[in-house]
């Protein structure tokens, strides 16, 4: 029985939240909807953990949806790369579901709660689907399922701030343009090869060699995904969406949505396109590296000057995505490992930070830094959580952020790009400034209100601290993250003949000795 179920784990992974979503509306009771959401996301998380355990040794699971054989049928293909991302998304989803109940109580009109849960489950379905599928067009469909529900989730913030509506609208316009670009690129790939299955695509592209259609497809897909993952300077939708969305949505988006987009980027760059052709590699080296560096600095500096905590964290996210992209575009194994490991670590850290902020909003109704003065005394658990996760953002030893930074610096030094290493540490020092502004306000300033602020409810403290402890745990024990990331990096590098690339790549730095 159990083995029969587990055999269908890849499908159930997405189907469970998909079916749970309409149930929430059908029953129409918000507490029941919450229970359904929690159960569905927990089940998804368990399946994800199972899939990760299966693939951690580098093996690949291929699942034919509905029994139709690929390349005609849609194939779900799980290896260490997406099993790891699935695990991130599903486990964060489960924690967020736990956290949501109290959080939306304050921020969303109770009549709309069931719709929140529905949209949340659809979003989860979409993100999991994007990650798990091995079919290029299917990626687009799931991407839009998640995006459409995300726009709704962001718009639900209108109960607290009407600007959530315009934020959602702008996100919709930008997101749709991105998705359409992506689908154009897929169209060109299909024209070129006559297939949509990623593994099949990769083979046929390799057989065809470099050509103009391929380049055009690459550029469209690159820009389209770049919009979705908020690659600088295509990040303009992100700060508003994160700051005006309900807190719990900010948590979920910051921890998962951009991460999944990064995964899609990885998948297309390495598995589908490969780096046999100088064009893609040169794009990364000459365009993405500078953009990533600019993102790391510009966004961090902008973050320093924000008066709203959520907005500050949003800009910090753009900067952190810069780190991930930088690691990826180094095109060597340590860099790729660094990028993937930071994908995970940043999801945990940023999730924890936004959860802490959500608790502040829950109790004092504001996320402005000046309103948080003295909160360290009044909400000790949440303030401590913020500090602990903030240290992770800076990259202090014994936090997950340090591990990311270690890998990333190692990767740049391996390439002999010491100036990149200096830029990385330079920008992480900017993180010290914006995190410490908040720490000073929370602990060293006199409280704003004389009336005592109550502690956050336990249902918020627990998931927040699970995230915080995870961010500390993965800073001490990197066995899981390190292994998953390096297996993933190996797989991606195998998928492409990356080792050959440097000779043919114009402008690429010489490989390290």
């Amino acid at each position: 029985m159990l083995s029969a179920i587990l055999a269908h784990a890849p499908a159930l992974q997405t189907v469970v939240p998909l079916i749970a979503a309409p149930l929430c509306v059908l029953f129409g009771r918000r507490h029941l909807a919450w229970a359904i959401t929690l159960a569905a996301s927990l089940i998804s998380a368990l399946f994800a953990a199972y899939l990760l355990a299966q693939t951690l040794d580098g093996s690949v699971i291929s699942y034919e949806l509905g029994g139709w054989a690929p390349p005609l049928g849609i194939e779900y293909r799980i290896d260490a790369v997406n099993a790891f991302v699935l695990f991130i998304v599903a486990s964060v989803g489960a924690l967020v579901a736990l956290y949501a109940r109290e959080s939306i109580e304050q921020e969303i009109d109770p009549a709309l709660h069931v719709y929140f849960y529905t949209a949340f489950l659809l979003c989860l379905t979409g993100l999991l689907g994007v990650t798990i599928t091995g079919d290029a067009f299917n990626v687009f469909v799931f991407l839009e399922i998640s995006s459409l529900s995300t726009y709704t989730l962001v718009a639900l913030g209108a109960g607290r701030d009407q600007r959530a509506l315009t934020a959602a609208y702008n996100y919709l316009i930008m997101g749709t343009i991105g998705a359409t670009f992506f689908v154009i690129g897929i169209g060109f790939l299909y024209m070129l090869t006559g297939t949509l299955n990623m593994a099949d695509l990769a083979e046929r592209i390799a057989a065809l060699g470099d050509n103009r259609t391929l380049r055009i497809a690459f550029v469209f897909i690159f820009v389209g995904i770049g919009l979705k993952l908020a690659m600088f300077p295509l990040h303009l939708w992100l700060p508003n969406a994160y700051s005006y969305a309900p807190s719990v949505v900010s948590v979920f988006l910051a921890a998962t949505a951009t991460k999944v987009a990064v995964y899609v980027m990885l998948r297309f760059l390495f598995t589908v396109f490969g780096f046999d052709y100088g064009f893609q590699a040169a794009t990364l080296q000459t365009i993405v590296v500078p953009l990533a560096v600019i993102a790391m600095f510009a966004s961090s500096i902008v973050a320093i000057f924000q008066s709203d905590l959520k907005r500050m964290l949003a800009y910090s996210s753009v900067a952190q995505i810069g780190y991930i992209l930088l690691g990826i575009s180094l095109l060597n194994k340590p860099g790729l490992t660094a990028g993937i490991i930071h994908l995970f670590n940043h999801a945990v850290i940023k999730g924890a930070l936004f959860m802490a902020v959500g608790a502040f909003v829950y109790r004092i109704g504001s996320s402005r830094i000046e309103d948080l003065r003295g909160i360290g005394k009044q909400m000790p658990w949440m303030a401590a959580a913020f500090v602990a996760a903030g240290l992770g953002l800076i990259g202090v030893p014994l936090t997950a952020g340090f591990i990311s930074k270690w890998y990333l610096i190692q990767a740049t030094l391996d390439e002999g790009a010491w100036w990149l290493a200096l830029l990385i540490v330079g920008s992480s020092l900017l993180a010290v400034i914006y995190v410490w502004r908040v720490v000073e306000a929370m602990y060293l300033a006199a409280p704003v209100q004389d009336a005592p602020v109550k502690k956050a409810p336990w249902s918020m403290i627990v998931p927040t601290w699970i995230m915080v402890l995870a961010s500390l745990y993965f800073g001490i024990n990197t066995e899981l993250t390190g292994k998953a990331a390096s297996t993933a990096a190996d797989l991606l590098i195998q998928a492409t003949q990356i080792e050959k690339a440097p000779e043919t790549v114009p402008g690429a730095p010489a490989a390290g000795e």
Partner: protein, 131 residues
């Protein structure tokens, strides 16, 4: 020779040219118009252009609908892009519906659907908050 080139380049690829023009018109509307509804219209044009790109690629001149007739020499159009675009159209409709719904809400709260007026109102909110 130039004539040869241009005729083959433009006429044989006329479907692409049409798609490109339509796409750019759509994108231009999205970028240049301040009216939120018009932006959605532009977005629709933009998406439609992509649908046409897919559909025209699948079409074979002289081909029939892809129905099994038993004749192995039957020439038929590739159905797959058409099916894909059915999905994409659904996504497009959903996006439009959601966009319009958002515009209704924005109109309720802001009393306008003009981008610059909304920006003014938001600036006012910002000022009040920091005061």
């Amino acid at each position: 020779m130039f004539d040869d080139f241009s005729s083959s380049f433009i006429i044989q690829h006329y479907n692409y040219w049409m798609v490109i023009v339509l796409m750019m018109v759509g994108l231009y509307i999205v970028v240049s118009r301040g009216n939120l509804v018009k932006k959605i219209v532009g977005l629709n044009l933009f998406q439609t252009a992509v649908f046409m790109l897919y559909i025209s690629v699948g079409k074979i001149i002289g081909g029939t609908a892809p129905i099994l007739t038993g004749n192995p020499d039957e020439v038929y159009s590739n159905p797959l892009p058409h099916v894909l675009i059915l999905t994409a159209i659904v996504v497009g409709v959903a996006t439009t519906a959601l966009g319009l719904a958002l515009i209704v809400r924005i109109n309720e709260r802001y009393g306008t659907i003009e981008e610059d007026e909304i920006a003014d109102i938001e600036q006012e909110i910002d000022r009040q908050e920091s005061a």
